[in-house]
Symmetry: C2
Subunit: 389 residues, 2 copies
């Protein structure tokens, strides 16, 4: 099994991009990653695409071949594969690209991920997002994704005395980080009061506790670590990956305040990399809701169970602390183009490890982590990245 490195990263602006199609976004991110890697398209051996619901959002399946085609690569007849796992599509695409390079099947691959959420309107987009939950046992009875995460929040408040202010402080922190990211959808700070007073979506969660439904794309170029310096002065190694599943329906889980898929995926990744959570300086975790980040930093063992709220409120996960969580702004402020999330997170971590984080650079970051969820936690993927010295 060969070691694998990231030699190029690219992403689009995130937001309501009504003047750009799915194709435009996929091509833009992919070509930026290829340019960043200092390669040309002739160097490519395969394309992996993470995407959740193009079939419903833009009426188009088979998007992996489509992106290669509209990138002008059809003459190369590259192998192209789309992977899906709810919101974890992008993170799963990284895993397939990693396996292809690690196994020796391919040398240089592009892992792209894109989602075009805003063409169908918010009601329809939320309905489509709900198809990542259990349709037969949740959605048909009226459960929505915000409603399910609201139940987790209520239970977390009950079990660990987590306060509404602590939960809201996730949004305040991530907007503060997003204000430093020129590609973020919301580059604007918000106050704790604004989060608390926002209209309720599913109590206790309000509008500013939710990530937006966004358009956007991101891409990585991967190659064997031993070749990485030919292309890139600052390659970043994929140290290890962990993936885990759980019941799709929330009511079948052991508890509401822990996502076992995250716990297991994290353990698998740390074990494979022979690292510990305390060695991570920068992490992008799946904050589709504010409560998700609190549960994630606990389940990943960055803080003790039940301490996610106080730790966030105290600034222990903000830029400048021992660990910086969601320096990109996270899903909350960078934006949530669902299927693209995992790759967008990886782009941020690679930039941080290269020292290209700009105003939001984490000092001397050596090890970074991405954590991506599908549905309400039926899929979790954790990747660990390391600076190559």
């Amino acid at each position: 099994m060969r070691d694998v490195a990231v030699i190029g990263v690219g992403e689009t602006q995130f937001g309501e991009l009504w003047d750009k199609s799915f194709r435009d976004l996929g091509i833009e991110a992919g070509l930026r990653a290829i340019q960043d890697a200092g390669i040309t398209t002739e160097n490519l051996d395969a394309v992996y695409v993470g995407n959740m619901s193009a079939g419903r959002l833009i009426d188009q399946e088979h998007v992996s071949a489509l992106v290669a085609d509209y990138s002008g690569l059809s003459d190369m007849h590259l192998p192209t594969t789309r992977v899906e796992g709810g919101g974890a599509c992008g993170a799963l695409a990284i895993l397939q690209g990693w396996a292809a390079v690690a196994s020796g099947l391919h040398e240089i691959v592009v892992v792209g991920a894109a989602e075009k959420m805003t063409d169908v309107g918010e009601t329809k987009a939320m309905e489509i997002l709900t198809a990542t939950a259990d349709q037969e046992w949740e959605s048909v009875f009226g459960a929505t994704i915000p409603g399910l995460f609201a139940m987790m929040a209520r239970r977390h408040m009950y079990e660990y005395a987590t306060t509404r202010e602590q939960i809201a402080s996730v949004a305040v922190k991530n907007h503060r980080h997003g204000a430093l990211n020129p590609n973020a959808q919301f580059q604007k700070e918000i106050t704790l009061e604004a989060v608390l007073k926002a209209p309720k979506v599913a109590e206790p969660l309000g509008l500013f506790d939710m990530a937006p439904l966004s358009d956007g794309a991101a891409a990585l170029v991967l190659c064997p670590l031993e070749k990485a310096r030919r292309f890139q002065d600052t390659p970043v190694q994929i140290l290890a990956s962990g993936q885990a599943s759980d019941t799709v329906a929330l009511h079948d889980r052991r508890e509401l305040t822990t996502m076992d898929a995250t716990v297991v995926a994290g353990k698998r990744a740390f074990h494979a990399a022979q690292k510990t959570p305390s060695e991570v300086q920068v992490a992008e975790v799946h904050d589709n809701f504010t409560i998700s980040e609190i549960i994630a930093i606990e389940d990943l063992r960055f803080v003790k169970k039940g301490q996610g709220g106080p730790a966030t409120e105290d600034g222990q996960t903000a830029l400048g602390s021992k660990i910086a969580v969601n320096t990109s702004g996270g899903l909350k402020a960078r934006g949530m183009p669902v299927g693209a999330t995992g790759v967008a997170q990886a782009v941020e971590i690679v930039r941080q490890l290269r020292g290209e984080g700009g105003k939001r650079q984490v000092g001397n970051a050596e090890i970074g982590l991405t954590h991506t969820l599908g549905g309400t936690g039926a899929t979790a993927v954790v990747h660990l990245f390391g600076r190559v010295n």
Copy 2:
């Protein structure tokens, strides 16, 4: 890179299975493959699922986690991944499972594929299938999947003097084979006259030139070849795989009568396995339409370009000939649960190589091939399988 073997196969009945859900089908095929491998679910390390459009067909994304969950595996928190590439989903899932085992990431994986086509009605199902073509440049102008394949048929008749009877003879042969397959949707022979006189769908193609829209599922269990005999007396090796893409829109292709993706995928697979087409005794090729099989056996170099029609009419691809094509009945008679196709094809090839083909057994089959298409040929995947002596 480790060699990989198939140690278990399973499939459901194929057809209009109104009393079975997507979940039922996926579980049934998967558990049969696990039983066939002589393992228990505790031996599993990961699940890969091929599926085209569950999002639109049953309103459910995230089906890889769903199938693991409803198979009772949620406590194991297995990594689960869905892959999609139009009709080639199943074949792509095999590739991801292969890469996971070959790379050393996992030891024993299940590759399942399922599609539930019939719950939405035929008009809706055809519309969903058309989303594997180029929606912005084909479908919106009225092109349908049957219409696009009909253009290929017309051009093939013009360029190579292929006759309507020769094209129809694909259906006659595959129904004859399907009549010997107890899991086939149509276990009934049809006459050449019946094919020719059937109502036209898109001229020159009629109702019996098209594969049905079916429900069904199939599954494989893969493990490293070196461990295969611990579980299975007759393991079958995956010798090599080839995958290629092309333009999504048919009108952008070099020609209408050759699918370059098939040509390239075939060459890649044969080159990697160091085999030639003449060494293959049994092949399952993607006969979603009769003309598709004619083009496929030419592009895979089983016959010369332009000779697909006469060769089929002469019985050169029927059971008992030098090469037997679509012994399962193919998509035409076994049925076409779109995303499940690639795995169903592999199940048939493994059975043939094990000598478990029953009434349709190919004598002394040593090397078998599967060929699977996405869309009108924007994706092609070729797998080569070999008996382990």
